[in-house]
Symmetry: C2
Subunit: 218 residues, 2 copies
């Protein structure tokens, strides 16, 4: 007779050996690739190499499992900012460079992350987004303080901080979201695409700086 599964908190092994972790890893892969609705619990079980019933044994339901994956994915999606934006020892310029670089590295590792998060956010209520409390984080960051200083000292144009964030994130993330089209148009294989994205680690900070200045003149 089964009861509640025991809270599996053994020693952390490098390789996901526990059944629970195998399921989570498989779920992440398939959810990221196909989204919630198109994912079958049987697909997850097969990818994880486990019996279908174990999914419900460990996670109660497809939806509960999804909620966990979704939460962790959103954290990963956001976490790129943490640690960069509150460093009081780096300049604004340096923060932008680091942010762009870290983010592109992350997306080369997890190319399906943005489209997954954004697609699922479309249906779900924005409860999760509120929970993440991104607004407070960004607005209270040291980054934002520096940004405001640059504006008041006239170093950069007067512009809504969210326009600024929108622009940086757009330039970083959108190519990954549109990669099927881009690869087709450029005749690029995965490695070519990644090379182009790596180029953008250098280019995007330059572009951003240029964008922020011109406003002041025009």
């Amino acid at each position: 007779m089964k009861k509640e599964p025991v809270p599996t908190k053994k020693i952390n092994v490098l390789i996901d050996n526990t059944t629970e972790e195998k399921i989570k890893t498989a779920a992440k892969n398939i959810f990221h690739q196909k989204g919630y609705a198109a994912t079958r619990t049987r697909d997850i079980a097969e990818e994880a190499g486990i019996n279908l019933a174990l999914l419900n044994y460990y996670f109660r339901s497809k939806e509960k499992l999804f909620d966990i994956i979704m939460f962790e994915s959103m954290q990963q999606f956001i976490q790129s900012m943490t640690g960069v934006f509150n460093n009081e020892k780096t300049t604004l310029e340096k923060k932008i460079e680091t942010f762009v670089s870290n983010y592109i590295d992350l997306l080369i590792e997890e190319p399906d992350l943005p489209l997954f998060v954004l697609s699922e956010l479309r249906t779900n209520p924005n409860e999760l987004v509120s929970k993440m409390n991104m607004k407070a984080y960004l607005m209270n960051s040291y980054f934002m303080k520096q940004f405001q200083q640059h504006i008041t000292s006239g170093k950069i144009a007067t512009i809504h901080p969210l326009h600024f964030m929108m622009n940086i994130i757009s330039l970083i993330v959108f190519p990954f979201v549109g990669s099927p089209v881009l690869k087709n148009m450029g005749g690029w294989k995965q490695d070519d695409f990644n090379d182009i994205m790596l180029q953008r680690k250098i280019l995007i900070p330059k572009w951003i700086k240029a964008m922020m200045k011109i406003e002041a003149k025009g």
Copy 2:
């Protein structure tokens, strides 16, 4: 006994009065909002106000109906370029301004279009993308000719045309894709959001021009 439905090509009425059109309109709305997998044929029937069986009567299957919607959506997604990019009487700068303006107008009308197309493209093979032949269209356009001239004459930096297109489209489209997050962070209602997007009709062309120049110096 039913046979093949007759090809419904009556006089085009302003209001979608025919059953076929009612189904297509409903299907577009729901597919755009929820994607293929999360859409139930019963949802479409209900939204269209018709009997469920009529969907299969007119379109054979959910998939065939989806293919039609998907094709038309991609055309709409791409069509924004047509007509702008091959106008031989406008400058490069003017083309950019018009393109940005038209595109933002389209996305305010059809805010779900990009995420829908890009999500579905992720799963499907890129057969559709190839069929659209976007590469040939862009590369053979008068726009691209002007772009190359600007590079050779030193007016703008040497840069891969796809980087350039990526940047414009990223700045236009990504805010719509990430609108749930943006609205939350900015505390914006739909109308506020649209106002911000309308601001970008002016801002994006300025930013793009600035980006293209700085490269030359650096």
